[in-house]
């Protein structure tokens, strides 16, 4: 059944693809084993991550980008990830709503995933679902997720290109893109750019990118995010008063920095430029070899995650849960220290020792 399903995915059959993704979500190991059928198609698609705060218009922007890519004769799949309810485990997934214009286009596949217990992160199945969609012949796979918590960090592990969406008027603009996540963006977008304050957000992002680049050059290797934010604010201050930028900044060549682009997703303004930039970025990375090294490090990161999940599975399978109870008892009654108890537990896995 699984091999047959995998074959139908390779034929691009929508129902098979949908089913296969569900099996991955449900953690069906036979489905994971059947993934070997997709070895030959791995790496064929461009994986695009789109993330940003709630209310930044990601879904509408994604909708418009689908339109652009369709115009370029590309088949497009979208995975939209929303959080599961921590209370019931259920979810309401509403991103599809804004992409319904493409619902009946056979060259577009849209799938909503609930994060299923990955607190604030992507669903575990996301990275694998991507491989299935790629196998089904989609040229571009977009992963759209709200930028809170872990998900924007997760997205770099999966995506070839990451678009960070921001928007004017979400309160303290400098907070919109936190210093720590600047690094994951390949392309920055200020959406709803017809609103007041759009240019200010653009300036702020540029300032942060420039500061970050300066820090990366080793001027201040020990600088943490706090310093970064401080420097950005300083830089911004300079920008606003028209004073000359500091010599440190002057040395940075603008070309190195990720572009900051403006869009108005509702009307489609700026979308063709963004779409073209996304495609050219991918081509550029491919030619320069950056894509390969990025994918390699993605594989490394994923491999670690998977190994950890497998260990947990193994742990459960080998009666680890029972063993956990007795060791916890021992720690609680102070007959064993917690570090030693943990060592004993891991030994169970490594040696395959039974409890």
């Amino acid at each position: 059944m699984y091999e047959d399903l995998a074959r139908r995915c390779l034929d691009g059959e929508v129902r098979a693809v949908a089913r296969f993704v569900s099996l991955l979500e449900d953690g069906d190991r036979r489905a994971y084993n059947a993934m070997s059928a997709f070895a030959s198609t791995m790496g064929k698609a461009q994986i695009l991550g789109i993330t940003g705060p709630p209310g930044s218009g990601k879904s509408t922007l994604t909708d418009k980008l689908i339109g652009y890519f369709r115009g370029q004769e590309k088949k497009v799949a979208v995975i939209a990830v929303d959080p599961s309810s921590p209370f019931s485990g259920g979810a309401i997934l509403g991103d599809r709503l804004r992409m319904q214009g493409h619902a009946v286009d056979p060259g577009v596949y849209i799938r909503s995933l609930a994060s299923r217990g990955q607190l604030g992160g992507l669903s575990k199945a996301t990275a694998f679902a991507v491989r299935v969609l790629e196998a089904a012949g989609y040229d571009i796979v977009i992963i759209e997720t709200v930028g809170v918590g872990q998900s924007e960090i997760d997205i770099v592990k999966v995506a070839d290109t990451v678009v960070l969406v921001s928007v004017p008027g979400l309160g303290d603009d400098i907070q919109v893109i936190k210093a720590g996540i600047m690094e994951i963006g390949d392309i920055f977008v200020v959406n709803k750019a017809d609103r007041d304050g759009a240019d200010r957000v653009v300036r702020e992002i540029r300032a942060m990118l420039e500061t970050q680049a300066a820090l990366k050059r080793g001027k201040s290797p020990s600088a943490g995010p706090d310093t970064l934010a401080l420097r950005s604010a300083e830089l911004l201050h300079h920008g606003q008063t028209g004073a000359a930028p500091s010599s440190q900044i002057e040395q940075i060549e603008a070309e190195e920095l990720p572009p900051v682009m403006k869009t108005v997703a509702e009307t489609g303004e700026g979308v063709p430029e963004l779409g073209a930039r996304i495609l050219s970025r991918f081509e550029g990375d491919r030619l320069s070899g950056a894509l390969e090294s990025r994918r390699l490090s993605s594989i490394k990161a994923q491999l670690k995650d998977i190994a950890a999940w497998q260990l947990l599975d193994l742990f459960a399978d080998s009666g680890g849960d029972g063993r956990l109870d007795s060791l916890a008892e021992a720690v609680h009654s102070r007959s064993m220290d917690i570090y030693g108890a943990a060592k004993k537990l891991t030994a169970t896995l490594v040696k395959g020792e039974q409890a």
Binding site: R15, A18, G90, I92, L97, A103, V104, I110
Partner: protein, 132 residues
């Protein structure tokens, strides 16, 4: 991992009264299901594509405008065309009792009128799923 029940909640037709659809969506979420909410003004074609792409187990339709006899059967028909008869389809809204036999003969599994407790709908889904 457990298998989650996935439900499309859709409003076919043009009426904009989505209080019932939204209450049902929340209740199903709170019962542990994954609800894909497709919003207003959905054509039967859009609803069916969503059901296929989302690997839905259930399609829940809500309508208050009186266009149910036209739109509900169309959804079932299209699902059949795509070989997806195993998706459970039911409806709710302002639907005269006299229309229910007709809708059931067209493959609508159940019709829930105004005042139906959400728990009834939750139980109905759990006991009538066509897919394991």
């Amino acid at each position: 991992m457990e298998r989650k029940i996935r439900v499309i909640v859709a409003k076919p037709g043009l009426d904009g009264h989505d209080r019932g659809a939204k209450v049902i969506a929340r209740a199903l979420r709170d019962a542990g299901m994954e609800v894909i909410y497709t919003g207003l003004r959905q054509t039967p074609e859009q609803i069916v594509q969503a059901a296929l792409q989302e690997d839905a187990d259930v399609v829940a339709l809500s309508i208050l405008s009186g266009a149910h006899n036209h739109l509900f059967p169309r959804v079932v028909e299209l699902l059949k065309e795509k070989g997806a008869e195993d998706i459970l389809v039911f409806g709710g809204g302002v639907i005269p009792e006299d229309d229910i036999p007709f809708l059931k003969s067209k493959g609508i599994a159940e019709v829930f009128g105004p005042g139906t407790p959400t728990q009834t709908t939750v139980d109905f889904i759990k006991t009538h799923l066509k897919r394991s």
